[in-house]
């Protein structure tokens, strides 16, 4: 798979590198693009990027592990994001996150074994008035209570199945 990916990247070069200067300045922007396209940053592409941008692979790994936006592992089919900003925290966001962890059987930051769900917590989505907030695949759920979690997760899989 990794070989295929590299080939794919090479063939899509024009698209992914479009409009970017080939230097360090473009690194984060480029990683955003790769992440958006593949859902994660395959380790195998790091050497390739390093060569093109004329920087070292260690610098790229530095960036990948420093910033939360980048994942080195493939993500699940559905991304569940739970806000733990202050406003959500005082309204019980932590309990919501714990309930989701229990329901999915994983910790925040992990992906279920069947690759259906990735669970992540964030420090604030800036929708503080409608907390606690849970975002599933880009859909915002507001004023979430503990017993709604099961339904929200179920709805995500159903929606995904419809698409298939």
């Amino acid at each position: 798979m990794s070989c295929l990916l590299i080939k794919k990247m090479a063939s899509e070069d024009k698209e992914i590198f479009k409009g970017l200067e080939l230097n360090q300045k473009s690194l984060i922007h480029l990683l955003h693009r790769i992440q958006a396209q593949y859902g994660y940053i395959p380790e195998e592409v790091v050497d390739d990027i390093a060569e093109r941008l004329k920087i070292t692979p260690s610098e790229i790994f530095g960036i990948l592990t420093f910033y939360k936006a980048f994942a080195l592992e493939p993500r699940g089919k559905h991304l569940v994001t739970i806000c733990l900003g202050t406003a959500c925290h005082v309204r019980g966001g932590r309990q919501i996150a714990e309930e989701a962890e229990r329901r999915l059987g994983i910790k925040a930051g992990e992906t279920t074994a069947d690759r259906q769900f990735t669970l992540e917590t964030v420090n604030c989505l800036g929708c503080c008035a409608i907390g606690p907030v849970v975002v599933v695949d880009g859909v915002y759920h507001s004023h979430v209570s503990i017993d709604q979690i099961e339904k929200i997760l179920k709805k995500a899989t159903e929606k995904g199945d419809e698409k298939n």
Binding site: N23, Q24, K25, S26, L27, I28, H29, L31, H32, E59, G62, I63, F66, Y67, K68, A69, F70, L84, G85, T86, A87, H89, V90, R91, G92, Q95, E98, E99, R102, V122, N123, C124, L125, G126, C127, C128, A129, I130, G131, V133, Y140, H141, S142, S145, I146, D147
Partner: protein, 641 residues
């Protein structure tokens, strides 16, 4: 699109736009920022479009989709002009009724009208609602009228007039003088005088200069910058253009955090539009002034809001802060003189130029001028974004604008300034809000997050929350921040788990002084503030946790139990069904019981227990110990049988 060449062109275009607008009977304005969309504004917009089309009343109703109106608690909401009728918390099925009754027949629908939670009075018209009445919406007023993706809307509202005026009749020095005279201070938190900052950067020598808009609004609980960028991106761009002219910069960056996709979208569209109209790029408005602007997306690191880290991030490196001096104004982006201001600061600039420094500095206190936008959130009735004059008291903001505490509970504290700020108690509510008084009280103005806490909020838990946040976000470059915050979090973890010891409070204070004094950047230097202020104003809560192993606010899981009062429980089975760990047993119409050894204290049962029954209670301290003792003796006697 034709490029605008000067002030005259701009004015001409403005009157053309205004003249070309069809005069319709009614205008429906729909608030649709991120909050609005999350609450369902998109479905409301669809419903209006559908109804207008079906009923063929396109000539009677104009639909205007705008950014956030600030009253987030009431989303999705609409304002119907010309009377400014305000309808709250709408559902798509309300739309046909609104069109028929209100828009076509002028009738107000009482069930959709806002009611004051304190007095119960109804307010059908937006300007009369107490939440809006006490505000001074200099910057946020435009959010009512502008489609953020329309340059024409901004021009019609008087946009880019300040820029045109500056290019026509101000020297760069005159612009700086005007900003200094206005008394504007940085809205990002530290409150450095903006004009003075520009002056230092203008005077710095360098072959290139940059300006940056800091939109990496990382403070949890703060979202005014998001709202400004989403709702009125051109005002920020215009402010930056004026700043670039004054400083002598040819290139600028807007650094937006990745959690704000709608803001990125709107500001990117706005930049494209401005370029097309000759407001960005080469020889702007026919002058010799050139300026280019780029959007850079953050990648999820709180520390990148610190100016030196932010510049490292734009350069494509890890967001590590560095020692200052040299300050960015002397050596910033790639070593060139750079001026960084926050979104709200930039948005103030066109206003100051249009209305004049002496108009601007009439409002505020002696050393803090103009208005400030706060995000008023937490346990408050009117959650939302509020813009108030500097010098207003915290009490006025919380009780008059914010409508008081939710559910009639008692106020405990207000947290300002995010993780760098502090928690202020009831006794300080009459403090006027300005940079210096808040700092004196141990907190800071910060970027404007204002989180209200009631009696059901544990102050030790809040301190731990913030410290845990800063500890996780510490970049790890300097030792005091990396290790000091970690040690502080561990002590706080012990305290909330009931393992606190005598002397822990002093240890925390001691560590806090070291972290504050020795950290490299603002993140570490301010990280202990939430701990220090909660110790200063709520020491008794720390002592209760440490000495009595009790959490008076009934929040800390390890110190409380959930208990079903057998005399009150009606045996409805609701809690039993909701319990994820099957700790609740019982039969219908008989009192239920929680097995404390199985309970994971998730709170699902309490949420389910009907409020009019209220059989599930939380207990801590002595009462908890008594219940636990009785339970275990019953259990033992059963085992004995």
């Amino acid at each position: 699109m034709k490029k605008i060449k000067n002030l005259h062109d701009l004015e001409k275009w403005r009157s053309q736009i205004l003249a070309s607008r069809p005069k319709k009977l009614k205008r429906v304005i729909i608030s649709s920022g991120t909050c609005g969309q999350a609450s369902g504004s998109l479905a409301i917009i669809e419903a209006f479009k559908r109804e207008i089309k079906n009923q063929r009343i396109e000539d009677k109703i104009e639909l205007k989709v705008t950014g956030c109106h600030g009253f987030c608690e009431m989303e999705p909401n609409i304002i119907i002009e010309p009377d400014k009728i305000f309808y709250k918390q709408l559902k798509p099925q309300d739309v046909p009724i609104i069109i028929e009754k209100t828009i076509l027949n002028g009738e107000i629908i009482p069930s959709l009208v806002y009611q004051d939670p304190l007095t119960g009075r109804s307010y059908p018209y937006q300007p009369e609602i107490p939440f809006y009445q006490r505000q001074l919406r200099w910057l946020t007023e435009a959010n009512f009228y502008l489609d953020p993706t329309s340059l024409e809307d901004y021009i019609a509202y008087g946009g880019y007039k300040a820029l045109a005026q500056v290019l026509e009749s101000f020297s760069p020095e005159q612009v700086i003088e005007e900003i200094i005279a206005s008394g504007l201070r940085g809205r990002g938190g530290a409150g450095f005088p903006t004009g003075r900052k520009w002056q230092i950067c203008r005077e710095a020598k360098g072959p290139r200069k940059f300006i940056i808009c800091n939109a990496d609004e990382g403070d949890p609980g703060a979202y005014m910058d998001r709202s400004l960028l989403e709702g009125n991106p051109h005002s920020v761009i215009e402010g930056m253009l004026i700043g670039a002219y004054a400083i002598g910069a040819k290139e600028g960056f807007i650094y937006v955090r990745r959690e704000y996709p709608l803001a990125v979208k709107h500001v990117t569209i706005a930049i494209e539009q401005a370029k097309e109209a000759g407001l960005l790029g080469e020889s702007i408005l026919g002058s010799t002034f050139n300026f280019d602007l780029h959007v850079v997306q953050g990648a999820g690191a709180f520390v990148s809001g610190e100016e030196t880290s932010l510049m490292a991030s734009i350069e494509g490196r890890r967001a590590f802060p560095r020692q200052r001096p040299p300050f960015p104004a002397q050596s910033g982006l790639w070593g060139y003189p750079t001026n960084i201001n926050n979104v709200e600061t930039w948005a103030n600039i066109p206003l100051i130029i249009n209305k004049g420094a002496s108009w601007f500095n009439q409002v505020g206190t002696e050393r803090s001028k103009g208005t400030k936008i706060f995000s008023l959130v937490g346990k408050i009735n009117n959650t939302g974004l509020v813009e108030v004059p500097m010098g207003i008291t915290l009490r006025e903001i919380i009780y008059e604008v914010g409508g008081g505490i939710k559910g009639g509970r008692a106020f405990k504290a207000v947290q300002t300034g995010g993780p760098s700020g502090g928690c202020l108690p009831e006794s300080l509510l009459d403090l006027p809000v300005d940079y210096d008084t808040l700092t004196k009280a141990g907190s800071i103005m910060g970027s404007g997050g204002m989180i209200v806490m009631d009696e059901a909020t544990c102050m030790v838990d809040v301190a731990r929350y913030f410290l845990n946040f800063t500890q996780e976000e510490s970049c790890g470059k300097c030792v005091p921040c990396r290790i000091g915050t970690k040690q502080m979090v561990e002590i706080l973890n012990r305290i909330v788990a009931g393992q606190g010891e005598e002397g822990d409070i002093e240890k925390l204070e001691n560590l806090a002084q070291t972290v504050k004094g020795a950290s490299l950047c603002g993140l570490g230097q301010t990280a202990p503030n939430p701990v220090l202020t909660t110790i200063r104003y709520f020491r008794n809560e720390y002592e209760a946790h440490i000495r009595d192993k009790s959490c008076p606010a009934l929040v800390c899981k390890d110190l409380i139990i959930y208990y079903i009062e057998p005399e009150i429980c009606v045996g409805c089975l609701l809690c039993l069904k909701s319990c994820p760990s099957r700790a609740i047993s019982g039969e219908r119409k008989k009192p239920h019981h929680i097995d404390q050894s199985l309970c994971i204290k998730c709170g699902a049962c309490l949420e389910k227990c009907p409020p009019k029954v209220g059989a599930i209670k939380k207990y801590t301290g002595r009462k908890r110990d008594e219940i636990m003792a009785t339970e275990s003796s019953i259990k033992n006697s059963r085992v004995g049988l």
